[in-house]
Protein backbone atom coordinates (compact mmCIF):
# COMPACT_ATOMS: atom_id res chain seq x y z
CA UNK A 1 0.00 0.00 0.00
CA UNK A 2 1.22 3.47 -0.79
CA UNK A 3 -1.27 5.42 1.27
CA UNK A 4 -0.25 8.66 2.92
CA UNK A 5 2.25 7.73 5.60
CA UNK A 6 0.34 8.94 8.62
CA UNK A 7 0.85 7.63 12.13
CA UNK A 8 -1.87 5.04 12.61
CA UNK A 9 -0.76 4.04 16.11
CA UNK A 10 0.98 6.26 18.56
CA UNK A 11 2.12 5.93 22.15
CA UNK A 12 3.34 9.14 23.77
CA UNK A 13 5.17 9.24 27.09
CA UNK A 14 4.01 5.75 28.07
CA UNK A 15 4.88 4.61 31.55
CA UNK A 16 3.93 1.45 33.37
CA UNK A 17 4.82 0.27 36.85
CA UNK A 18 3.97 -2.88 38.71
CA UNK A 19 4.26 -1.77 42.30
CA UNK A 20 7.79 -0.48 42.75
CA UNK A 21 8.96 -2.00 39.45
CA UNK A 22 9.04 0.45 36.53
CA UNK A 23 8.59 -1.56 33.36
CA UNK A 24 7.95 1.25 30.87
CA UNK A 25 9.74 4.52 31.40
CA UNK A 26 8.39 7.37 29.29
CA UNK A 27 8.30 5.47 25.99
CA UNK A 28 7.36 7.15 22.72
CA UNK A 29 6.36 4.87 19.89
CA UNK A 30 4.92 5.64 16.47
CA UNK A 31 3.73 3.30 13.73
CA UNK A 32 2.83 4.50 10.23
CA UNK A 33 -0.08 2.89 8.43
CA UNK A 34 2.18 1.31 5.81
CA UNK A 35 4.95 0.19 8.12
CA UNK A 36 6.40 -2.96 9.62
CA UNK A 37 8.48 -2.35 12.71
CA UNK A 38 10.52 -4.86 14.68
CA UNK A 39 11.20 -4.65 18.41
CA UNK A 40 14.23 -6.31 19.97
CA UNK A 41 15.68 -6.19 23.45
CA UNK A 42 16.71 -8.45 26.30
CA UNK A 43 14.16 -10.40 28.32
CA UNK A 44 12.37 -8.20 30.79
CA UNK A 45 13.01 -5.06 28.75
CA UNK A 46 9.28 -4.29 28.66
CA UNK A 47 8.56 -5.23 25.03
CA UNK A 48 5.48 -7.31 25.81
CA UNK A 49 4.24 -4.69 28.25
CA UNK A 50 4.55 -1.99 25.58
CA UNK A 51 2.46 -3.97 23.08
CA UNK A 52 -0.08 -4.83 25.77
CA UNK A 53 -0.47 -1.18 26.71
CA UNK A 54 -0.85 -0.31 23.01
CA UNK A 55 -3.47 -3.02 22.46
CA UNK A 56 -5.46 -2.13 25.59
CA UNK A 57 -4.78 -5.28 27.60
CA UNK A 58 -3.13 -3.10 30.27
CA UNK A 59 -3.72 0.50 31.28
CA UNK A 60 -0.52 2.52 31.35
CA UNK A 61 0.41 4.41 34.50
CA UNK A 62 1.11 7.50 32.41
CA UNK A 63 1.01 8.65 28.80
CA UNK A 64 -1.43 8.53 25.91
CA UNK A 65 -2.26 5.96 23.21
CA UNK A 66 -3.73 7.21 19.93
CA UNK A 67 -5.16 5.03 17.20
CA UNK A 68 -6.06 6.65 13.87
CA UNK A 69 -5.64 9.98 15.58
CA UNK A 70 -8.18 9.30 18.32
CA UNK A 71 -7.21 9.06 21.98
CA UNK A 72 -7.91 5.44 22.96
CA UNK A 73 -6.05 5.48 26.28
CA UNK A 74 -9.26 4.72 28.18
CA UNK A 75 -10.63 2.28 25.59
CA UNK A 76 -10.49 -1.42 26.48
CA UNK A 77 -8.87 -4.20 24.46
CA UNK A 78 -12.17 -5.52 23.09
CA UNK A 79 -13.15 -2.16 21.68
CA UNK A 80 -9.65 -1.54 20.27
CA UNK A 81 -9.75 -4.88 18.47
CA UNK A 82 -13.07 -3.88 16.93
CA UNK A 83 -11.43 -0.66 15.75
CA UNK A 84 -8.76 -2.73 13.99
CA UNK A 85 -5.93 -2.93 16.52
CA UNK A 86 -5.10 -6.46 17.67
CA UNK A 87 -2.27 -8.26 19.47
CA UNK A 88 -1.18 -11.89 19.68
CA UNK A 89 -0.03 -13.41 22.97
CA UNK A 90 3.58 -14.37 23.58
CA UNK A 91 2.38 -17.46 25.43
CA UNK A 92 -0.53 -18.70 23.30
CA UNK A 93 -3.95 -18.45 24.90
CA UNK A 94 -6.25 -20.68 22.87
CA UNK A 95 -9.88 -21.29 23.79
CA UNK A 96 -9.03 -24.85 24.68
CA UNK A 97 -12.52 -26.34 24.65
CA UNK A 98 -13.30 -25.02 21.18
CA UNK A 99 -12.01 -26.15 17.80
CA UNK A 100 -9.43 -24.12 15.90
CA UNK A 101 -12.16 -23.03 13.52
CA UNK A 102 -14.38 -21.92 16.40
CA UNK A 103 -11.48 -20.02 17.98
CA UNK A 104 -11.10 -18.03 14.80
CA UNK A 105 -14.86 -17.67 14.41
CA UNK A 106 -15.06 -15.79 17.72
CA UNK A 107 -12.61 -13.23 16.34
CA UNK A 108 -14.40 -12.91 13.01
CA UNK A 109 -17.76 -12.28 14.65
CA UNK A 110 -16.87 -10.39 17.85
CA UNK A 111 -14.18 -8.07 16.50
CA UNK A 112 -14.62 -8.46 12.74
CA UNK A 113 -18.34 -7.77 12.95
CA UNK A 114 -19.05 -10.52 10.42
CA UNK A 115 -21.71 -13.19 10.51
CA UNK A 116 -23.04 -16.13 8.55
CA UNK A 117 -21.31 -16.85 5.26
CA UNK A 118 -19.00 -13.86 5.49
CA UNK A 119 -17.70 -15.00 8.87
CA UNK A 120 -17.19 -18.56 7.63
CA UNK A 121 -15.22 -17.32 4.63
CA UNK A 122 -13.05 -15.04 6.79
CA UNK A 123 -12.26 -17.96 9.09
CA UNK A 124 -11.26 -20.26 6.23
CA UNK A 125 -9.11 -17.50 4.81
CA UNK A 126 -7.36 -16.77 8.11
CA UNK A 127 -6.74 -20.47 8.77
CA UNK A 128 -5.45 -20.96 5.24
CA UNK A 129 -3.10 -18.00 5.54
CA UNK A 130 -1.67 -19.52 8.72
CA UNK A 131 -1.34 -23.01 7.24
CA UNK A 132 -3.70 -24.60 9.68
CA UNK A 133 -6.72 -25.66 7.69
CA UNK A 134 -5.79 -29.29 8.29
CA UNK A 135 -6.39 -28.88 12.04
CA UNK A 136 -9.51 -26.70 11.72
CA UNK A 137 -11.75 -29.21 13.51
CA UNK A 138 -9.34 -30.12 16.28
CA UNK A 139 -10.08 -28.91 19.80
CA UNK A 140 -7.45 -26.29 20.57
CA UNK A 141 -6.32 -28.15 23.70
CA UNK A 142 -5.04 -30.95 21.45
CA UNK A 143 -2.85 -28.64 19.36
CA UNK A 144 0.93 -28.50 19.72
CA UNK A 145 2.87 -25.31 20.38
CA UNK A 146 3.43 -24.49 16.69
CA UNK A 147 -0.28 -24.71 15.89
CA UNK A 148 -1.15 -22.77 19.02
CA UNK A 149 1.10 -19.96 17.84
CA UNK A 150 -0.43 -20.13 14.39
CA UNK A 151 -3.86 -20.00 16.01
CA UNK A 152 -2.90 -16.78 17.79
CA UNK A 153 -2.07 -15.28 14.41
CA UNK A 154 -5.14 -16.72 12.68
CA UNK A 155 -7.42 -15.29 15.36
CA UNK A 156 -5.80 -11.89 15.01
CA UNK A 157 -6.18 -11.99 11.23
CA UNK A 158 -9.85 -12.93 11.47
CA UNK A 159 -10.58 -9.65 13.26
CA UNK A 160 -9.90 -7.84 9.93
CA UNK A 161 -7.23 -5.66 11.55
CA UNK A 162 -5.38 -2.67 10.22
CA UNK A 163 -2.62 -2.99 12.83
CA UNK A 164 -1.31 -6.33 14.12
CA UNK A 165 1.03 -6.50 17.10
CA UNK A 166 2.97 -9.77 17.10
CA UNK A 167 4.69 -11.02 20.26
CA UNK A 168 7.33 -13.67 19.58
CA UNK A 169 5.32 -15.86 17.25
CA UNK A 170 8.47 -17.13 15.50
CA UNK A 171 10.35 -18.65 18.43
CA UNK A 172 11.34 -22.30 18.16
CA UNK A 173 10.32 -22.78 14.54
CA UNK A 174 12.18 -24.96 12.05
CA UNK A 175 13.69 -23.27 8.98
CA UNK A 176 10.79 -24.38 6.80
CA UNK A 177 8.20 -23.17 9.31
CA UNK A 178 10.06 -19.86 9.54
CA UNK A 179 9.92 -19.43 5.77
CA UNK A 180 6.15 -20.05 5.91
CA UNK A 181 5.73 -17.50 8.70
CA UNK A 182 7.70 -14.85 6.85
CA UNK A 183 5.56 -15.49 3.77
CA UNK A 184 2.38 -15.14 5.88
CA UNK A 185 3.55 -11.84 7.31
CA UNK A 186 4.53 -10.51 3.89
CA UNK A 187 1.04 -11.41 2.70
CA UNK A 188 -0.42 -9.48 5.63
CA UNK A 189 1.61 -6.46 4.54
CA UNK A 190 0.38 -6.83 0.96
CA UNK A 191 -3.13 -6.68 2.37
CA UNK A 192 -2.33 -3.33 3.91
CA UNK A 193 -1.82 -4.28 7.53
CA UNK A 194 0.71 -2.36 9.58
CA UNK A 195 2.80 -4.63 11.77
CA UNK A 196 4.82 -4.46 14.97
CA UNK A 197 6.79 -7.63 15.60
CA UNK A 198 8.75 -8.53 18.73
CA UNK A 199 11.24 -11.26 17.90
CA UNK A 200 14.60 -12.44 19.12
CA UNK A 201 15.61 -14.05 15.83
CA UNK A 202 16.88 -10.87 14.23
CA UNK A 203 17.74 -12.28 10.80
CA UNK A 204 14.13 -13.39 10.37
CA UNK A 205 12.84 -10.06 11.59
CA UNK A 206 15.03 -8.22 9.11
CA UNK A 207 13.38 -10.06 6.21
CA UNK A 208 10.13 -8.26 6.97
CA UNK A 209 10.62 -5.00 8.84
CA UNK A 210 11.97 -1.71 7.55
CA UNK A 211 12.43 -0.18 10.97
CA UNK A 212 13.83 -1.57 14.18
CA UNK A 213 13.35 -0.46 17.77
CA UNK A 214 15.58 -1.66 20.57
CA UNK A 215 14.32 -1.56 24.15
CA UNK A 216 16.33 -1.99 27.30
CA UNK A 217 15.03 -1.60 30.86
CA UNK A 218 11.76 0.01 29.85
CA UNK A 219 13.37 2.56 27.52
CA UNK A 220 13.77 2.84 23.78
CA UNK A 221 17.53 3.09 23.23
CA UNK A 222 17.53 2.99 19.43
CA UNK A 223 14.95 3.44 16.70
CA UNK A 224 15.56 3.55 12.96
CA UNK A 225 17.00 1.67 10.01
CA UNK A 226 17.44 -1.98 11.07
CA UNK A 227 21.06 -2.30 9.95
CA UNK A 228 21.99 0.97 11.63
CA UNK A 229 20.24 -0.03 14.86
CA UNK A 230 21.98 -3.40 14.93
CA UNK A 231 25.31 -1.69 14.39
CA UNK A 232 24.68 1.00 17.01
CA UNK A 233 27.34 0.65 19.73
CA UNK A 234 24.76 1.34 22.44
CA UNK A 235 22.63 -1.56 21.17
CA UNK A 236 25.61 -3.85 20.82
CA UNK A 237 26.66 -3.03 24.35
CA UNK A 238 23.24 -3.25 26.00
CA UNK A 239 21.65 -6.08 24.08
CA UNK A 240 24.03 -8.12 22.00
CA UNK A 241 27.34 -7.59 23.70
CA UNK A 242 26.33 -8.20 27.27
CA UNK A 243 23.97 -11.02 26.24
CA UNK A 244 20.32 -11.41 27.10
CA UNK A 245 19.55 -11.40 30.80
Amino acid sequence: MTSEAVAILEGAGLSKSFGALTVLDNVDFTLRSDEAVGIVGPNGAGKTTLLTVLSGGLRSTGGVVRFRGADVTAVGAAERSRLGLVKTHQVPRPFSGMTAFENVYVAATAAGGLNGRGAHAACVEALELCNMLHVANRRAETLGLLDRKRLELARALATSPSVVLLDEIGGGLTDEETVQLVETIREMRRRGMAIVWIEHIVHVLLQVVERLVCMVSGRVIADGDPKAVMADPVVVEAYLGSGAT
Binding site: A78, S81, V86, Y105, T109, A111
Partner: protein, 341 residues
Protein backbone atom coordinates in the same frame (compact mmCIF):
# COMPACT_ATOMS: atom_id res chain seq x y z
CA UNK B 1 -24.61 -25.24 5.48
CA UNK B 2 -22.37 -22.64 3.95
CA UNK B 3 -20.45 -23.64 0.84
CA UNK B 4 -17.13 -21.89 0.38
CA UNK B 5 -14.76 -22.40 -2.53
CA UNK B 6 -13.27 -25.65 -1.22
CA UNK B 7 -15.07 -26.05 2.07
CA UNK B 8 -18.46 -26.40 3.63
CA UNK B 9 -19.21 -25.27 7.17
CA UNK B 10 -21.45 -27.96 8.56
CA UNK B 11 -23.75 -27.15 11.43
CA UNK B 12 -26.17 -30.09 11.10
CA UNK B 13 -25.47 -33.74 10.47
CA UNK B 14 -27.87 -36.38 9.21
CA UNK B 15 -28.10 -37.68 12.77
CA UNK B 16 -28.93 -34.23 14.06
CA UNK B 17 -31.68 -33.73 11.48
CA UNK B 18 -33.22 -37.02 12.64
CA UNK B 19 -32.85 -36.20 16.32
CA UNK B 20 -34.29 -32.73 15.76
CA UNK B 21 -37.34 -34.42 14.25
CA UNK B 22 -37.53 -36.90 17.12
CA UNK B 23 -37.32 -34.04 19.62
CA UNK B 24 -40.26 -32.29 17.98
CA UNK B 25 -42.28 -35.53 18.00
CA UNK B 26 -41.47 -36.16 21.67
CA UNK B 27 -42.54 -32.65 22.62
CA UNK B 28 -45.77 -33.04 20.66
CA UNK B 29 -46.51 -36.35 22.40
CA UNK B 30 -45.71 -34.83 25.79
CA UNK B 31 -48.00 -31.90 25.04
CA UNK B 32 -51.08 -34.11 24.67
CA UNK B 33 -50.18 -36.51 27.49
CA UNK B 34 -52.39 -34.95 30.21
CA UNK B 35 -55.39 -35.57 27.96
CA UNK B 36 -54.77 -39.32 28.06
CA UNK B 37 -52.23 -40.12 30.80
CA UNK B 38 -52.76 -40.72 34.51
CA UNK B 39 -52.37 -38.03 37.14
CA UNK B 40 -49.43 -39.78 38.69
CA UNK B 41 -47.44 -39.78 35.47
CA UNK B 42 -48.31 -36.16 34.75
CA UNK B 43 -47.19 -35.15 38.23
CA UNK B 44 -43.94 -37.05 37.96
CA UNK B 45 -43.09 -35.69 34.54
CA UNK B 46 -43.66 -32.18 35.86
CA UNK B 47 -40.91 -32.85 38.38
CA UNK B 48 -38.69 -34.19 35.61
CA UNK B 49 -39.22 -31.03 33.55
CA UNK B 50 -38.20 -28.91 36.54
CA UNK B 51 -35.04 -30.99 36.87
CA UNK B 52 -34.25 -30.59 33.18
CA UNK B 53 -34.65 -26.82 33.47
CA UNK B 54 -32.34 -26.69 36.49
CA UNK B 55 -29.69 -28.91 34.90
CA UNK B 56 -29.78 -26.97 31.64
CA UNK B 57 -29.45 -23.66 33.47
CA UNK B 58 -26.47 -24.75 35.50
CA UNK B 59 -24.85 -26.15 32.39
CA UNK B 60 -25.45 -22.91 30.49
CA UNK B 61 -23.77 -21.02 33.32
CA UNK B 62 -20.88 -23.31 34.19
CA UNK B 63 -20.47 -25.54 31.16
CA UNK B 64 -20.70 -22.80 28.56
CA UNK B 65 -20.04 -19.48 30.26
CA UNK B 66 -17.61 -20.77 32.90
CA UNK B 67 -19.66 -19.23 35.72
CA UNK B 68 -19.60 -21.82 38.48
CA UNK B 69 -22.39 -20.70 40.79
CA UNK B 70 -23.24 -22.52 44.01
CA UNK B 71 -26.02 -20.03 44.76
CA UNK B 72 -28.64 -20.64 42.09
CA UNK B 73 -31.09 -21.56 44.87
CA UNK B 74 -31.31 -17.79 45.42
CA UNK B 75 -33.43 -17.42 42.29
CA UNK B 76 -35.24 -20.72 42.78
CA UNK B 77 -36.39 -19.50 46.18
CA UNK B 78 -36.96 -15.84 45.52
CA UNK B 79 -39.09 -16.53 42.43
CA UNK B 80 -41.44 -18.56 44.60
CA UNK B 81 -41.42 -15.87 47.26
CA UNK B 82 -42.42 -13.14 44.80
CA UNK B 83 -45.11 -15.41 43.35
CA UNK B 84 -46.66 -15.72 46.82
CA UNK B 85 -46.37 -11.98 47.34
CA UNK B 86 -48.16 -11.36 44.03
CA UNK B 87 -50.81 -13.91 44.92
CA UNK B 88 -51.43 -12.27 48.28
CA UNK B 89 -51.71 -8.94 46.47
CA UNK B 90 -54.60 -10.37 44.49
CA UNK B 91 -52.98 -11.56 41.28
CA UNK B 92 -54.58 -14.83 40.06
CA UNK B 93 -52.38 -17.89 40.80
CA UNK B 94 -50.83 -18.68 37.44
CA UNK B 95 -50.12 -15.09 36.42
CA UNK B 96 -48.68 -14.67 39.92
CA UNK B 97 -46.32 -17.60 39.34
CA UNK B 98 -45.07 -16.14 36.08
CA UNK B 99 -44.82 -12.69 37.63
CA UNK B 100 -42.76 -14.20 40.46
CA UNK B 101 -40.24 -15.59 37.99
CA UNK B 102 -40.11 -12.29 36.10
CA UNK B 103 -39.61 -10.20 39.23
CA UNK B 104 -36.79 -12.52 40.32
CA UNK B 105 -35.24 -11.99 36.89
CA UNK B 106 -35.57 -8.24 37.25
CA UNK B 107 -33.77 -8.50 40.60
CA UNK B 108 -31.02 -10.50 38.90
CA UNK B 109 -30.23 -7.66 36.49
CA UNK B 110 -28.73 -5.23 39.04
CA UNK B 111 -27.24 -8.14 41.00
CA UNK B 112 -25.39 -9.28 37.88
CA UNK B 113 -23.43 -6.02 37.79
CA UNK B 114 -22.11 -6.64 41.30
CA UNK B 115 -21.70 -10.40 41.33
CA UNK B 116 -19.80 -10.49 38.05
CA UNK B 117 -17.13 -8.21 39.44
CA UNK B 118 -16.11 -11.42 41.20
CA UNK B 119 -14.19 -14.04 39.29
CA UNK B 120 -13.62 -17.78 39.54
CA UNK B 121 -13.87 -19.15 43.05
CA UNK B 122 -14.80 -15.76 44.46
CA UNK B 123 -17.86 -15.72 42.25
CA UNK B 124 -18.82 -19.27 43.31
CA UNK B 125 -18.68 -18.49 47.00
CA UNK B 126 -20.12 -15.02 46.49
CA UNK B 127 -23.19 -16.59 44.95
CA UNK B 128 -23.68 -18.80 47.97
CA UNK B 129 -23.38 -15.82 50.28
CA UNK B 130 -25.87 -13.97 48.09
CA UNK B 131 -28.33 -16.86 48.30
CA UNK B 132 -28.06 -16.93 52.10
CA UNK B 133 -28.52 -13.15 52.27
CA UNK B 134 -31.64 -13.28 50.10
CA UNK B 135 -32.95 -16.19 52.19
CA UNK B 136 -32.52 -14.12 55.37
CA UNK B 137 -34.14 -11.06 53.79
CA UNK B 138 -37.15 -13.09 52.74
CA UNK B 139 -37.43 -14.44 56.28
CA UNK B 140 -37.84 -10.85 57.49
CA UNK B 141 -41.19 -10.67 55.70
CA UNK B 142 -43.85 -11.43 58.35
CA UNK B 143 -45.94 -13.12 55.64
CA UNK B 144 -43.38 -15.93 55.51
CA UNK B 145 -43.50 -16.51 59.28
CA UNK B 146 -39.81 -17.24 59.54
CA UNK B 147 -38.79 -20.81 58.80
CA UNK B 148 -42.37 -21.96 59.35
CA UNK B 149 -43.17 -20.78 55.87
CA UNK B 150 -46.49 -20.30 54.19
CA UNK B 151 -48.58 -21.63 51.32
CA UNK B 152 -49.88 -20.31 48.05
CA UNK B 153 -53.45 -20.98 49.14
CA UNK B 154 -54.98 -19.51 46.01
CA UNK B 155 -53.75 -22.57 44.09
CA UNK B 156 -56.26 -24.69 46.01
CA UNK B 157 -59.08 -22.92 44.22
CA UNK B 158 -58.46 -25.24 41.28
CA UNK B 159 -59.57 -28.86 41.08
CA UNK B 160 -56.66 -31.21 41.70
CA UNK B 161 -56.52 -32.55 38.11
CA UNK B 162 -56.79 -29.07 36.64
CA UNK B 163 -53.88 -27.88 38.69
CA UNK B 164 -51.78 -30.94 37.80
CA UNK B 165 -52.40 -30.41 34.10
CA UNK B 166 -51.74 -26.66 34.30
CA UNK B 167 -48.50 -27.22 36.16
CA UNK B 168 -47.49 -29.82 33.65
CA UNK B 169 -48.11 -27.61 30.65
CA UNK B 170 -46.41 -24.65 32.24
CA UNK B 171 -43.39 -26.81 33.07
CA UNK B 172 -43.31 -28.32 29.59
CA UNK B 173 -43.58 -24.91 27.94
CA UNK B 174 -40.91 -23.53 30.24
CA UNK B 175 -38.57 -26.43 29.57
CA UNK B 176 -39.02 -26.40 25.80
CA UNK B 177 -38.79 -22.61 25.66
CA UNK B 178 -35.63 -22.48 27.74
CA UNK B 179 -33.91 -25.37 25.97
CA UNK B 180 -34.82 -23.80 22.65
CA UNK B 181 -33.52 -20.42 23.75
CA UNK B 182 -30.23 -21.91 24.95
CA UNK B 183 -29.87 -23.89 21.74
CA UNK B 184 -30.42 -20.85 19.53
CA UNK B 185 -28.15 -18.73 21.70
CA UNK B 186 -25.34 -21.28 21.69
CA UNK B 187 -25.51 -21.71 17.93
CA UNK B 188 -25.28 -17.95 17.41
CA UNK B 189 -22.02 -15.98 17.38
CA UNK B 190 -22.90 -14.95 20.93
CA UNK B 191 -22.68 -18.60 21.97
CA UNK B 192 -19.17 -18.89 20.55
CA UNK B 193 -18.14 -15.74 22.41
CA UNK B 194 -19.52 -17.10 25.67
CA UNK B 195 -17.49 -20.28 25.33
CA UNK B 196 -14.40 -18.23 24.57
CA UNK B 197 -14.95 -16.35 27.84
CA UNK B 198 -15.23 -19.68 29.64
CA UNK B 199 -11.85 -20.79 28.25
CA UNK B 200 -9.90 -17.52 28.55
CA UNK B 201 -11.57 -14.28 29.49
CA UNK B 202 -8.69 -11.94 28.63
CA UNK B 203 -7.97 -13.63 25.33
CA UNK B 204 -11.66 -13.33 24.47
CA UNK B 205 -11.59 -9.62 25.24
CA UNK B 206 -8.47 -9.21 23.10
CA UNK B 207 -10.41 -10.28 20.02
CA UNK B 208 -13.48 -8.19 20.57
CA UNK B 209 -15.72 -10.08 22.99
CA UNK B 210 -17.69 -7.86 25.39
CA UNK B 211 -16.95 -10.06 28.36
CA UNK B 212 -19.06 -8.44 31.05
CA UNK B 213 -22.10 -7.99 28.86
CA UNK B 214 -22.02 -11.61 27.72
CA UNK B 215 -21.65 -12.85 31.28
CA UNK B 216 -24.51 -10.69 32.48
CA UNK B 217 -26.74 -12.05 29.74
CA UNK B 218 -26.02 -15.63 30.79
CA UNK B 219 -26.41 -14.76 34.47
CA UNK B 220 -29.83 -13.21 33.92
CA UNK B 221 -30.97 -16.03 31.64
CA UNK B 222 -29.98 -18.62 34.24
CA UNK B 223 -31.66 -16.58 36.97
CA UNK B 224 -34.88 -16.60 34.97
CA UNK B 225 -34.65 -20.35 34.36
CA UNK B 226 -34.00 -21.13 38.02
CA UNK B 227 -36.77 -18.78 39.14
CA UNK B 228 -39.16 -20.44 36.71
CA UNK B 229 -38.17 -23.83 38.12
CA UNK B 230 -38.75 -22.38 41.60
CA UNK B 231 -42.29 -21.20 40.88
CA UNK B 232 -43.09 -24.50 39.17
CA UNK B 233 -41.94 -26.26 42.31
CA UNK B 234 -44.18 -23.99 44.34
CA UNK B 235 -47.05 -24.80 42.00
CA UNK B 236 -46.64 -28.51 42.64
CA UNK B 237 -45.95 -28.36 46.37
CA UNK B 238 -48.14 -25.32 47.22
CA UNK B 239 -46.11 -24.78 50.39
CA UNK B 240 -43.19 -22.39 50.72
CA UNK B 241 -40.61 -23.09 53.40
CA UNK B 242 -37.51 -20.92 53.16
CA UNK B 243 -35.20 -23.71 54.30
CA UNK B 244 -36.44 -25.96 51.52
CA UNK B 245 -36.94 -23.45 48.73
CA UNK B 246 -33.62 -21.72 49.40
CA UNK B 247 -31.88 -25.02 50.14
CA UNK B 248 -28.39 -25.45 48.75
CA UNK B 249 -29.42 -28.96 47.73
CA UNK B 250 -31.05 -27.47 44.62
CA UNK B 251 -27.69 -26.30 43.41
CA UNK B 252 -26.15 -29.64 44.44
CA UNK B 253 -28.72 -31.41 42.27
CA UNK B 254 -28.00 -29.07 39.36
CA UNK B 255 -24.28 -29.71 39.59
CA UNK B 256 -24.82 -33.45 39.85
CA UNK B 257 -27.15 -33.62 36.84
CA UNK B 258 -24.94 -31.44 34.68
CA UNK B 259 -21.73 -33.23 35.65
CA UNK B 260 -23.07 -36.75 35.23
CA UNK B 261 -24.95 -35.98 32.03
CA UNK B 262 -22.17 -33.97 30.44
CA UNK B 263 -21.02 -30.48 31.30
CA UNK B 264 -20.52 -28.29 28.27
CA UNK B 265 -22.68 -30.43 26.02
CA UNK B 266 -26.20 -29.46 25.05
CA UNK B 267 -27.73 -32.93 25.40
CA UNK B 268 -25.85 -34.01 28.55
CA UNK B 269 -27.85 -32.15 31.22
CA UNK B 270 -31.11 -33.50 29.78
CA UNK B 271 -29.74 -37.01 30.12
CA UNK B 272 -28.41 -36.17 33.58
CA UNK B 273 -31.83 -34.90 34.66
CA UNK B 274 -33.55 -38.05 33.44
CA UNK B 275 -31.08 -40.26 35.30
CA UNK B 276 -31.34 -38.18 38.47
CA UNK B 277 -35.12 -38.28 38.23
CA UNK B 278 -35.07 -42.09 37.97
CA UNK B 279 -32.74 -42.38 40.94
CA UNK B 280 -34.85 -39.99 43.03
CA UNK B 281 -37.93 -41.95 42.07
CA UNK B 282 -36.32 -45.25 43.15
CA UNK B 283 -34.89 -44.17 46.46
CA UNK B 284 -37.29 -41.36 47.32
CA UNK B 285 -35.17 -40.25 50.23
CA UNK B 286 -33.04 -37.31 51.14
CA UNK B 287 -30.99 -38.73 54.02
CA UNK B 288 -27.36 -37.99 54.68
CA UNK B 289 -26.13 -41.27 53.19
CA UNK B 290 -28.10 -40.64 50.03
CA UNK B 291 -26.70 -37.12 49.62
CA UNK B 292 -23.20 -38.39 50.32
CA UNK B 293 -23.69 -41.05 47.66
CA UNK B 294 -24.77 -38.47 45.11
CA UNK B 295 -21.82 -36.28 46.04
CA UNK B 296 -19.44 -39.19 45.52
CA UNK B 297 -20.89 -39.87 42.09
CA UNK B 298 -20.46 -36.21 41.15
CA UNK B 299 -16.82 -36.20 42.27
CA UNK B 300 -16.06 -39.41 40.41
CA UNK B 301 -17.45 -37.93 37.22
CA UNK B 302 -15.58 -34.66 37.69
CA UNK B 303 -12.35 -36.62 38.11
CA UNK B 304 -12.66 -39.37 35.54
CA UNK B 305 -15.22 -38.24 32.97
CA UNK B 306 -15.32 -34.43 33.11
CA UNK B 307 -17.56 -34.26 30.06
CA UNK B 308 -20.00 -36.72 31.60
CA UNK B 309 -21.87 -39.60 30.04
CA UNK B 310 -22.85 -37.63 26.98
CA UNK B 311 -19.31 -36.44 26.45
CA UNK B 312 -18.16 -40.08 26.39
CA UNK B 313 -20.93 -41.05 23.99
CA UNK B 314 -20.02 -38.18 21.66
CA UNK B 315 -16.39 -39.21 21.71
CA UNK B 316 -16.96 -42.92 21.23
CA UNK B 317 -19.49 -42.73 18.44
CA UNK B 318 -18.65 -39.29 17.11
CA UNK B 319 -22.32 -38.54 17.61
CA UNK B 320 -23.64 -35.00 17.49
CA UNK B 321 -27.39 -34.99 17.88
CA UNK B 322 -28.09 -31.32 18.49
CA UNK B 323 -24.77 -29.69 17.57
CA UNK B 324 -24.03 -26.12 18.54
CA UNK B 325 -20.53 -26.08 17.04
CA UNK B 326 -18.99 -25.76 13.59
CA UNK B 327 -17.47 -28.44 11.42
CA UNK B 328 -15.32 -27.52 8.45
CA UNK B 329 -15.56 -30.13 5.69
CA UNK B 330 -13.51 -30.13 2.49
CA UNK B 331 -15.88 -30.39 -0.44
CA UNK B 332 -13.32 -31.65 -2.93
CA UNK B 333 -13.65 -31.04 -6.66
CA UNK B 334 -17.00 -29.52 -7.60
CA UNK B 335 -19.71 -32.12 -8.05
CA UNK B 336 -22.29 -32.01 -10.87
CA UNK B 337 -25.33 -29.99 -9.91
CA UNK B 338 -27.99 -32.40 -8.71
CA UNK B 339 -30.82 -30.06 -9.51
CA UNK B 340 -29.98 -30.16 -13.20
CA UNK B 341 -30.98 -33.83 -13.43
Amino acid sequence: MTVLPKFAVERWTRASAVSGGVAVAVVAALAVLPLIGGDNLVDKLTTLFVYVILAAMWNALAGYAGLVSVGQQAFFGVGAYFAIRCSVAGVPPYPALIAGALIATAVAVPLSYFMLLLRGGEFSIGMWVLAEAIHLLVNLDPLIQGETGTSMIALNAYAHETRLAANYWLALAGMVGLLGAIFVLLRSPFGASVQAIRDDEEAAASIGVSVQRAKRTMFVLAAFGCALAGVLWLATSVTFQPKTNFGVQWTAYMILMALVGGLGTFEGPILGAVLFFLVQDQFAETGVAYMAGLGTVAILFALFAPRGIWGEIEKRWNLRLLPVGYFLRPTGPPKPDRRSK
